[in-house]
Every structure is written in C-alpha cells, then in structure tokens.
Symmetry: C3
C-alpha cells in the first residue's frame, strides 16, 4: 500500500504511511487502514493505493467517511472504513487526465484528484455507493501487516477481545501483555497496539521469525 495523506493547501504535508504494506492485498489493507485512519482529524485526505486490478475495469472512487476523505480503487480497500463510519458519501471518479498510464493510477488519476480535494474542489465524479464486501468479517483473525521490527499486526481490534483472551498462531498460544517491557525477553505475546489492533510481538525479538508467521497467517482467539 501507499497510503499517502495530504491536509489542506498550501503547504500540504504528504505522509507515506505504509510503503511496505501488503502488496496486492486490499483486504488486509482495509483492516489496517480503518485502524490507522481513525487517528487523523476530519478533513484529512487519504490517497490509498493497493491496486492489483490497476488497468482492469475496477472503478476509481472518492469516499468521505465521518469527515475524512479517501481516494483510491473501488476494490474493498475502503470496506471497513465505510462499515464503521456514521456518515458516508462516495463518488465514482469520472474525471480522466490527459495522459492515463495503464499501470500507475496513483500518479495519474488518484493523486490529481486528491489535490483537487485538498484545494477545496468538489469530487470530480458521480455520487454513488461504494462497492461492498459484506462477507468480510468485522474483525479479521489474520495477520495483515508485518512491521519493520517484525511485529505482526492482526485485523482484530483489541477492544473486541477480553483481557484474558489468548491468541493462537504459529503453533503457540499467546497471552496478553500491556507492553513490550512487561514480557520476558524472547517470549512472544500479544497486546493492543497504539492504533487499537491486536499485535503479536516479541520483546527484543522478531515475532515473524520466532513464530514463522507472515501476512495472511491465521489467528485463533480463545
């Protein structure tokens, strides 16, 4: 994923949240994005590109959810954003640039549209509902992201799990800790991370290596 965000012109900051996030996997990205987006104020514009269908006929959309704006492919990436929001509006992007490459809509289509929104212009398209992926669960019991340190982020919100909940993955049943410093060195555990997701970690170690897990690995809560 490239989840880049812009906030208001002029002097628009651009933040590349997940340069290394799950390539080609909008479902994993959807759970990650919904958790991270919640930390940004209304008016933030998210330019989100996990787009394995670029060049096919998937639509391009703008979504406004609880005041935050999202620009990207209509491929499920915004499913959890839409499901958890109180108020959602959405548009299919009908505007096209003079030159549209087959493979890089992030540059050619989504970025200019995000810039239009940042300048306060209306969504350049037709209002219509997002495509929906209603069979996706509210909480996804899978690893959706491995971070730089080897921590394994799940699609489960910590708030959906009891304090005594255990998560089983990679053949190990893991207890909840409050933070890294609370767990013995080298021992895997899970905790509610700073974005509210259940995250599997090893104090001073790499959870992905210790547990041989990666994006897509299944988590069994108990």
């Amino acid at each position: 994923m490239k989840a880049v965000l812009a906030r208001g012109a002029p002097g628009v900051p651009v933040i590349d949240l997940f340069a290394d996030a799950p390539a080609g996997d909008p479902m994993s990205g959807a759970y990650l994005l919904a958790a991270y987006a919640a930390w940004w104020p209304a008016g933030t514009i998210f330019l989100c590109v996990i787009d394995p269908g670029v060049g096919s006929d998937r639509a391009a959309v703008v979504a406004q959810a609880d005041g935050r704006w999202f620009v990207g492919p209509d491929n499920g990436l915004f499913e959890l954003i839409a499901r958890r929001a109180t108020a959602v509006r959405s548009w299919e992007i009908t505007w096209r640039p003079a030159a549209l490459s087959a493979s890089f809509h992030g540059r050619d289509l989504f970025a200019p549209v995000a810039a239009m929104l940042a300048r306060g212009e209306p969504s350049p398209g037709t209002e219509r509902p997002l495509s929906r992926w209603l069979d996706w669960p509210d909480e996804l019991p899978r690893i959706v992201y491995i971070d730089h340190y080897g921590n394994a982020i799940t699609g489960l919100r910590g708030s959906s799990l009891s304090p005594a909940a255990r998560l089983t993955t990679g053949g190990r049943e893991l207890l909840r800790a409050r933070m890294f410093a609370d767990a013995p060195e080298g021992e895997p555990f899970w905790y509610e991370n700073s974005n509210g997701l259940a995250e599997i970690a090893v104090n001073r170690g790499r959870a992905d290596v210790v547990l041989s897990i990666g994006v897509g690995s299944v988590i069994e809560p108990s």
Copy 2:
C-alpha cells in the same frame, strides 16, 4: 542513487525518488533518470547522486536540459538526459563550501548548489559542455533497476520496441502485455511501464526471483 528534487522556494518539496537505485552505477542510473525526469515540469531541480568517484577528481556540474535543472557529478549520470534534450546548457561547479567532506558531496556541495538554483541564483560555476559517453547506446538492453516489488526495469524504451517484440532474459522469452492484470498469475511478461521503459514483471510475483535476474542482467530483444 539519491535523485532528490526541489521545486522553487519557498516551501520547496523534496522527493527522494530512488533511495535504493543502482548504487555506484551511473550508467544504469542515466537511463532510469532520463525516463523519470521527463515527467516533471520545466523548472524542476534534480539533485542526483550516484557518485562512486566522490573524493576523486571527477567534476561537479549543473546541467539545464529543456528547462529542467540537474545537479550532480559529471560521470555519465546525465548522458541520456543531454542526448535526448533539444536544448542543453551546462556549468562546472567551481563554488566550494567552507567545509567539503571527502565522501558526502550530496550534502556539502550538490545540495547547497540545488538550493541556490531553487532561489533563482545563477549556476555558481563556469559554463562548459558536460563530459560525454557517446559509446553508450540510445537504448540499453540491460536491467537498470529492481523495484520494491521485484519488477525489473530495463534501459529500453517501450516506444523503441514493436508490439510483437519479445524480450529474452533469465533463459525465458517474454511476450508483451498491456498490464499486470492481462497476464496469468505467476507468469513473467514485459510491458511498457508508466515512465515509458520496458519492464519485466510477474503478475502477483517477483520477476527478479522468478527469472533470477538483477541490475546488469542482459536483455535480448527479438
């Protein structure tokens, strides 16, 4: 390569295009830079550092090509930029900072010169032609860059190849596709990427791994 660019003061955005591009290989970088630079408007300032000769007697230069500015070593990195431009002027940088390290001219020499240009100041040097590498081909049949996803970018422009052209590399003869979504999963192919270069890719896979190729691997067009 660090190909950083700045556009006008104040509020100069700096974009690090290729933090991971071919280290120590100005020739590969030259084909990549010429393809990517074409997308930026006149007035853009490119600060380009692939500089294996830093600390030796290679000169430091400013080049202006079709209105775009380039600052960096006179080591071939701007050869294709110069060759393809309609109008080129160039200067040897004679300005020196108070403290010039032997190993980091990007920080000590090139960045301040790029900032001078961004402020609208003249090139701080003497106008003279760039050194030229006229034996380099117009189209380079080699891999010049492996991107984050394992796609292998060549030094061949797609426009130089027929729609039916095949590219052979890593023991495989590859057909042209329009985009990832047009190729079967796991199957290598080539396509003209969003910057106009022939790129070898695998739908939902890593071309560098599938074909065992890397920067410098030879491509045979047919």
Copy 3:
C-alpha cells in the same frame, strides 16, 4: 531509531534521519546522534526515539545542548550529546496528552512536545538534570550502525585516531584511507566519514558482508 527533526513553524521540515538505526539500542544511538546532530544549526529540534523501555517508568525529557533541542526518552540516548556540549539544560516532561498509548510515545508524547518547542513554547515540564551514563566511554570501539550500502559506522571519532591508526575487526586489520576511491576494489578499509566518525567500508562492496560484522561488533584500534 527514528531521529526526526523539525525546524521552526510554519513550514516545519521533518527529516527522518535513521529509520533503520539500531532498534532497541540507545547506547549505539547515542554515539551516532552526537556525531550527526553536530551538523545542524542551533534551534534545530530533534525528536529521537530509540525507546525499548516505552511503557515502563523511564522518564521523558527535553534537553537543550548548545542551542539544539532534543526530545525523547531519558535512557542514555542523549548521554554523548550532553557530555560534549558546552551548555546543557534539561527538563522532565510532565505534560501528558489526553490519550497516551502504552507503546507509541513518539506519536503521543514526544511529537506534540517537539511541536510545542517548534512554536516557541517553553518545555512543558520541570527543569532537572538528565540521567547520566558516566561509565560509557568517550569513544565507543564498536559498530553502532550499518548503513544502506553495508558500510559499518563505529562510535569512534576519526579525530581521536592517528593517521596511521589501524582498526581490527572481523579478523582483519584495516588501514586508513581518505575515501572509497583511494582503496582497491573489494578491499576493506576505514576512513573518517562525513560526520566525523570512523567508518569501515569496502570500495564497491558491503563491509558488513565482507567482514561478517554488525551492530555491536567490537573494534580494536592500534
């Protein structure tokens, strides 16, 4: 480490100096930070996060050293900054945000405090000395960082070593060179890098691979 810096509002540039620096190792980071910080002007604000004790009871501090500002954990990361500065003031951060996660003080605590300083507000805490790590040496004969190219940066300042000094590591005794271009290809050597630290490198090769060294490897000067 995330050593991010901000300089004055509005239009605060943010530079992520070491996204890949020694995780969980404030001691290595302290020698690296002291060398790199010296290049920035007075008034620069460094937001520094190497924080294995996040969520424990380590304090959060602001330090002002020779006019530069540092915000981060009181865990030794600023030890060399403080030791080498002429004038140091420091504060324990007593301000707390409305929501403080257990695991991400970089976002929740340190970044807002850095922003307060960038706006010219006073340090939101109580003036008191930093904790000190007086048993740490002035020059650390260890590898503290491996960069993108495999160069191995030590905690020894080049100015502390004679021109004829040799550094032994990975079973090899290395001579000093002025720059990469002065050493034969493939041959390891050491030189004083652009930040003043002794760095072990291989001309057109990776020192970490050639010498099988990494962060923490011991250096014996002679």
